[in-house]
Amino acid sequence: MISRLTQGVPKRGWILLAMLLIALLVAPRFVNDYLLTVLILILYFAYTGQAWNIMMGFAGQLSLGHAIYVGLGAYTAAALYVHFGVGPWIGLLAAVPVAMACGAIIGFLAFRFGVAGVYFAILTIAFAEFARIGFDHIRYTGGSAGFFLPVAQYTTNDLWNLRGKPVMFYYVILALTVAAFMFCHVLLRSRIGYFWLAIREDEEAARALGIDTFRYKMIAVVISAGMTAVAGVFFAFYYNNLFPEQVFHISRSIELILAPIIGGIGTLFGPILGAFLLTGLSEAVTEVLHAIGFDFPGAKQVFYGICLLIVVVALPDGIWPWLVRRLGLERRP
């Protein structure tokens, strides 16, 4: 296990990783409240991007409906907390299996019936949209009027119930991101990781080699869904309000996959780099437009869209693979 974690990473990579981790650990001491919320957002996207990357980047299954797993995780944990007083850590034990079951259903239907490529992507959108409209009509969780967790001004941090100041949430999401990074690193170096890469590159050939492609695609979907649901639980307790129109919306699914695509699909560091660049860019554009007085609704997104377009056209593999070549961080065999 430990050897799998460490093998194949060049020394320079270790130094950079350690420096980044230390910087993130001490960051709350030096940044103001606003920057802290930006950092939380960045880590949130880094984490969800990592989870999505397992399905797309490793196993090659394009999901455009990951908001469904965020939403199911968020709503399950929030419902348990509001209706039964069950805390988020216990709630996770229900939220993750619910999302995993949903992922398994979607995966089973798609892979059994040979739904692949564009069709698979649209099937995932369809399920997410179905959930969005469905949750609009579920009274138990507030329907379209929204579902709210009780909020109060907290002076102490209650880690067990995830009630507290942003700093606590920051360290929780940082821990999640680090854990996801290490987990994905181990997965990629394991047998299953190699199976996934084989399926991604050529599914027919993988099957010819005796890989049970159905089984390993299912595992990818289920792991990815479960990890994403954890982010959903975090989302529910951090924002304290859930609206189906927002949580399950297709734009959430797209938001969530931007970081890994921009950063570099299938790479471990891509989602993290992408989250930093995109969220940083988005906030910077807001600041600049505000400063020059061009603060109209939509202006920020136009610039954001243009930047996205430039990256997609100029660096189709993402920024991280390009940066790796530039910094000489290639993994040595």
């Binding site: 069709y119 649209i122 179905f130 377009l309």
Partner: protein, 290 residues
């Protein structure tokens, strides 16, 4: 009496569905030939809708008449998009194409938001409240005109692909890419033409749809999704399938809105999509891919 209500709603759904079908036809034509899924389809339609609204409010030009120039503008937009942006992406993986068009879609939605603001806009034509009575069925005049125009445009497109030289050349590209190259067709040029034609369908559909519904910038993504649902139900790449899917989804939404609650109506469209994907993934009219 209750039967009359259902009949009226079904007919109204059928007419709206024909306009949906024309919009989806554009997506289907583009996918059938270029093999790129246009994730900015609904956004292009909102552009057409806003064009119609500007022409109407500034110059009192009727959207039904302006359908032709608006389709022309959208044709140019589609042509430029394919020739300038999408052609290099034709051979790239799906997620890469997806990102490109999502970026285009984000820009389109928000430029519209910048220009027109978030409020809903509509056109008030002199015939907005007219209606025709066919026996016991009463239908809005606007829907009849819109559906009629949708049929005419679709028929023109069918004829173009069936009989014209360029149309045949485009079908050749779709059938056999390498073969088309071998016989000396300028495939990239024909792709741009196809994307332009798909966009023109959307433009025509959009200028008719302003007669039926109000438009806001966020409507774009919703219509992109609707177009996907329709073409997959009908058969991605099949032209009659797109129209059939449009009618089917239009009627389903109308009847579901009547029988259940209007806010749940798209759920039924998505339910149909899931069923079709599972039991007939090539769509109702689609050919089985090998």
């Amino acid at each position: 009496m209750p039967v009359d209500i259902y009949l009226n709603v079904a007919v109204s759904g059928l007419l709206t569905g024909l306009v949906y079908g024309l919009m989806a036809l554009g997506l289907s034509v583009i996918f059938g030939v270029v093999r790129v899924v246009n994730f900015a389809h609904g956004e292009m339609m909102t552009i057409a809708m806003y064009l119609a609204i500007v022409l109407f409010s500034a110059f009192k030009l009727d959207p039904l008449v302006m359908m032709v120039p608006i389709a022309g503008v959208l044709f140019a937009l589609g042509y430029v998009m394919q020739a300038g942006l999408i052609n290099p992406f034709v051979d790239r993986p799906e997620h890469s194409q997806f990102m490109l068009l999502v970026a285009v879609a984000i820009i389109m939605v928000n430029v519209l938001l910048l220009l027109f603001g978030p409020d809903a806009r509509s056109v008030q034509t002199s015939y907005a409240f007219d209606s025709f009575a066919f026996g016991r069925i009463i239908v809005d005049a606007t829907k009849v005109y819109a559906a009629g125009a949708a049929i005419v445009v679709s028929a023109a497109l069918f004829a173009f692909f069936k009989f014209s030289h360029v149309g045949k050349a485009i079908r050749a590209c779709a059938d056999n890419y390498t073969g088309a190259l071998v016989v000396g067709l300028d495939v990239k040029q024909l792709y741009a033409l196809t994307f332009g034609l798909g966009a023109a369908c959307v433009g025509a559909a959009g200028s008719m749809l302003v007669l039926i519904i109000d438009v806001t910038p966020p409507l774009g993504p919703q219509y992109t999704l609707l177009a996907f649902v329709i073409v997959i139900v009908g058969g991605l790449g099949s032209m009659p399938g797109a129209l059939l899917g449009g009618v089917l989804i239009g009627m389903t939404e109308a009847l579901a809105g009547l029988l259940f609650t209007p806010s749940a109506k798209s759920m039924f469209a998505f339910a149909i999509l899931v069923l079709v994907l599972l039991f007939r993934p090539q769509g109702i009219m689609g050919k089985r891919a090998s």
